[in-house]
Amino acid sequence: MSPIDAGEAVTRALREEWARVVAALTRRFGDLDIAEEAAAEAFATAVERWPADGVPPNPGAWLTTTATRKAIDRIRRENKRLDKHKEARLLYDDHPPEPPGAIDDERLRLIFTCCHPALAMEARMALTLRMVGGLTMPEIARAFLVQESTMGQRITRAKAKIKTARIPYRVPSAEDLPARVSGVLAVLFLVFNEGYLATGPGTDPVRHDLTAEAIRLTRLIRALVPQDGEVAGLLALMLLTEARRTARVSATGELVPLGEQDRGAWDAALVAEGHRLVRERLATGVAPGRYQILAAISAVHTSARDVRDTDWSQVVALYDQLVRLDPSPIVALNRAIAVAELDGPEVALAAVDRLGDRLAGYHAYHATRADLLRRLGRSQGSRAAYDRAIELAGNTAETAYLTRRRDQLG
């Protein structure tokens, strides 16, 4: 096997096996920090050895065994004089692995622990991306727009709190479940978004592993609380977004905006499933939450066979509803993009400019301004906005698209 193939196999194993390895080690050693470090060491060993030795027939089992050995080494190092009883307990796994099929619950346990309400929301997201998503510290730091050292401290502090305050490693009891689920949804949405707009110069523009993982985990949560409207809403939103995945990046690796996508390339099965979920929620007559509204917006877009058939007044009406629930500047920015189609770029630009204070560090703010200025024929301002957007955008496909648009300015 060539080094490149081996490298790919390690990358694949990392994505597929990371959460399982971390979950298995956390269950066995009762310590997230040991689990994470040992898993990371095992993956580093794989990167080193697999190119020469070949990829083992069962990469997951190899990684778990190697990580377990690393964990035991660390525990021995830290407790130099282990008594015989402890030593025996360390080597004998008294938490036997779950039968096949129960593995999903194992990862759910990991998610609920990472998303515990006694942790700050930022820490929950970071921890889930690290422990469940397997993202590296720089990737997570970028997803949160903070320094790597800040992110490292945040994760270290969260792990220490889980240990010292004894945050349990389990799926919460029925009475705690509804409140705990909404925290998990916020985290899964972020994981999905990181996959959908992956960052980092060497990264694929769309990381299907992350979007697929977020969808898979959301389905698991839905099986757990099938009556929760927001779970259904988030799942629908993810499916309708995922359906457009292949149409969203061109053959040359450039982002294709919604209006220019080949709608025939959308995944019809995912669109149908997403629409079904949205209709199901509408039929309940219960006031929709944030995810259900976003899913409904996505449903309007995916219902139009041609971009010219888009019901923009419906989109803007849904954004108005969303603004009342979530007055964040990012929602206002997305609303302005829809307003541009309904009332023209001049009106939209005025709305976007009002967000400048709060979104100056957000690439989409500058990309939106650049596009609106271009449509208004204001090339100079547009070029400057494209420059700023390119500087801030972390996604390779997006950078390619923005660069071409800028270079096409007269």
Binding site: A165, I167, P168
Partner: protein, 109 residues
Amino acid sequence: MQYLVSVIDDGAGLATPTEEAAIDAFNDRLRAEGHWVFAGGLGSPDPATVVDNRGGEAVFTDGPFLESKEYLAGFWIIEAADLDVALRLAADGSKACNRKIEVRPFLGG
């Protein structure tokens, strides 16, 4: 595992008779369910004295070590299997005494 459950008073003052009755009922439940370790009321920090004997001679200072509108007005020490159990008890405790509450694990608990 033991947790310190601190009652934070932000100006409400001493417990009313209704609050006292609710606290008594909560305490009975803690004992019945095996969570009880210790509890005590402290009232306002006005009568506190700060003692510092790190130098040559003990220095006594009148008043609390921290002047604040919010102060520790009482506490429970509870036994709980994990933080979920402790937080659920603390939520009921907060309702009973009608005050904000802080939950902290004891070291090596």
